[in-house]
Symmetry: C2
Subunit: 454 residues, 2 copies
């Protein structure tokens, strides 16, 4: 019984069999592996080998592998195989996954592949593609179990027995009226626990949460997580049921949003779908970083102006400049810490705009405390390095003010960004660091001028 | 039909009813709301009101609210109610959730509450508590549906009809042998689709993935996400089945790990369980930040030494110092970008240690390209500000070298940390920024000395 499947081992075996051209072993190895693992291995093979391995798979496995493979591998496979071959696999895929593949991985071949697909399936995919990217409509499947509330439990059990194998999930049944409006949800366990002759209308519960097809996937994920749902019905503005979002799609969304959060916090744009590290060509990776880097660089040039204003003071007390990197660095670190807690608190709905005053006071206070603690270290360090008590005091006082300032900025900037309807996750660690560089510098040199009488 | 439940509205109505002492309305409002929303409202009320509202709930709702409420609110409620009252709610809770509450929210009252609980339940909780924190054993529930492989489909359906309401999930049935060793999994849909007289042994599949109770929750989450599972069986080293982890617990883990990732990347320690923003007292928030800030501050003092070594050069060309914050800031930003992609790539298993060479070459290349692009801006900017072509060249060349260096460091540091068995997520944006500050400074001043002949 495999406890945890070892992908590295599978990769090794695959490569060995490929090298030895041992088709027998290769086929057996792949057939025994989970499609998700085969997809991971294919992601890591050379382009030619990707195709060789893919062609060894039976259609069911190939379909799942195509669904699970990375962006790069998917594109490669789709470009090497004929439209008919790919379309026959897309027909076997849950339609929400087919729509995702067509729109995100190979948009340029979308029309050709749709034309080669089975007509009913292609129609369904086109419906899904009409919804905005990253919406509930895109995530949902139209293959849910709909039932008539006037059915008996026995009739439902019979219906389930004969159900299309393409229905994705079984955990909940959805009772629709004659106009296909959603009137209730029945958990499969309630069906199994009920007397055979009871009517569904007697055991259904009104749906507690539904979303519209345009709802953003992040909200979908938050609802599923908040209410521990296995399925979330998607209903349009007239109450008609369009489909369900299943929990496995939500998990993918959470992993994807998580990646995006971390990248954004590092000031890296992610693609429409975050791809695996090696899937992004170097030039693409550069393109996703150079925008922010350039903005930050230009913002950072303010530091040159600030230093220019204080040229005289810096010339009089050369030692002043020695503490500049440390002071603004500490300010940046403090600000980055605050931003990470803010961005997360806002994303989870723990911090709302009307909490702004409370949040700012809180961060001002903790910045002050942190500044006081660090100022002790700063004072000791400056004296130890042989500086005058005057200069050491300037450094210590500056640390207190800079930490308080950086902490407060780290709270205010994400709130302002949110106030203007933008995503607070745009406020990255580098952004706050850069903002604190110029302002922290000015604070330090103003304090120096005041205390040293320059 | 509520599309999205408006928590702010529920909070407003609750507060109004509380103020007006309108018990009737309060009770009705709460009864109609989802326990997860009631928990969110309770989190935001004053301590006295928390208890008032909580006492209005019927036991089923109160149990769920207690489970869903934040750390702070849970502690407050548990401290205000008698052990008997709380224990009766714990008896109604899934035992994995009860164990989590007892160990993480109110460890100091664990023994008293266990003593007040129903004996069988307390026993089960004690079993769970014996597993390490954040392990599969802690997440799992012992209430899964176990079946004898020799049962017929009809017999299973009968069994399900009479099943304990405390069984958490229904999606998969687990076939155990006489020694309670796991021999197969049967999806409920396969049971419903099978002929009534068939034996389970004919339709069961061997379990594709299992974990041991000691497996870390992050691995559990990765497996559930990789293989789209609804349940994951937990099996000990002798093959005996202990319980299952359900997908709702995995979603909680993902949200929790996501919070931790962002906080860590901002160099903030999170608690054992990440609490909501306002749940962390200010002093506690300071305590979680001061450690890293102090380490970074002390590391940052290296910049003072570096500047000291180049004192003469800086005195000769005062304008050199004007570019210091911009140069090291840009290096820090570049490094932070790289670290964010690295940390994520490693966490998702896309980057492995044996890819180290490839990764380092890749980041060296993209750092070089980014540096070249920024150097054009740097050259123009330095000349525009009226600096000599010599000084402008020093700045431009330094930008190229510093970006390349910072990018490479951003790749190497997380790999080294992983190599030593530590979590690469420890490498935060502030850490890399601070490391780049001192080294970037040295690079800049060495280049200046060489090119300007100082």
């Amino acid at each position: 019984m495999p406890t945890i499947i070892d992908q590295a081992a599978l990769e090794g075996m695959t490569r060995e069999a490929l090298e030895a051209r041992d088709v027998e072993t290769l086929r057996a190895t792949l057939a025994a592996a989970h499609p998700a693992d085969v997809a991971d291995v294919i992601d890591r093979l050379d382009d030619d080998d990707k195709v060789v391995v893919f062609r060894m798979l039976d259609p069911a496995q190939a379909t799942e592998v195509l669904d699970e493979a990375g962006w790069d591998a998917t594109r490669e496979l789709v470009s090497r195989l004929s439209a008919t071959e790919i379309a026959s696999l897309l027909n076997l895929m849950p339609m929400d996954d087919a729509a995702e593949l067509l729109s995100e991985d190979v948009p340029e071949r979308q029309q050709a592949l749709l034309a080669a697909m089975r007509k009913a399936d292609a129609e369904e995919v086109r419906d899904l593609l009409a919804y905005p990217a990253r919406s509930a409509g895109r995530l949902m499947t139209e293959r849910f179990v709909s039932v008539d509330p006037e059915m008996t439990v026995t009739a439902v059990l019979q219906l389930l027995r004969e159900l299309d194998t393409e229905v994705e999930t079984f955990s909940d049944l959805f009772a629709l009226d004659a106009q296909r409006r959603l009137i209730g949800v029945i958990a499969i366990r309630d069906v199994l626990g009920a007397q055979p002759e009871r009517l569904l209308s007697e055991i259904l519960r009104p749906p507690s949460v539904t979303v519209e097809p345009e709802t953003d996937q992040e909200i979908v994920a938050r609802l599923v997580s908040q209410y521990d749902l296995l399925t979330l019905p998607v209903v349009n503005s007239t109450g008609h049921m369009l489909g369900i979002v299943t929990v496995d799609d939500v998990i993918d969304v959470l992993v994807q949003e998580n990646t995006e959060d971390v990248l954004r916090f590092g000031a890296v744009e992610s693609g429409n779908v975050p791809e695996a590290y090696f899937d992004v060509p170097v030039f693409q990776a550069v393109r996703r970083r150079v925008g922010w880097l350039m903005i930050l660089f230009l913002t950072g040039t303010m530091t040159i102006n600030v230093l220019g204003w204080f040229e005289e003071a810096l010339a009089q007390v050369v030692a002043l400049s020695f503490f500049i990197p440390l002071l603004i660095g500490t300010g940046g670190n403090t600000g980055a810490q605050t931003v990470s807690t803010m961005v997360r608190g806002i994303a989870l709905g723990e911090i709302r705009l009307r909490d702004a005053g409370k949040v700012i006071m809180r961060e001002l206070t903790s910045g002050l405390i942190l500044g006081l603690l660090l100022s002790i270290a700063a004072l000791g360090m400056a004296l130890l390095l042989g500086n005058s008590i005057q200069l050491a005091s300037v450094v210590a006082v500056s640390i207190i003010v800079v930490c308080t300032w950086a902490n407060t900025m780290g709270a205010i900037v994400p709130l302002v960004v949110q106030r203007f309807g933008l995503d607070p996750a745009l406020v990255s660690a580098p952004l706050i660091t850069t903002l604190v560089d110029a302002t922290g510098l000015a604070i330090y040199l103003l304090i120096a001028r005041a205390l040293l009488g320059l």
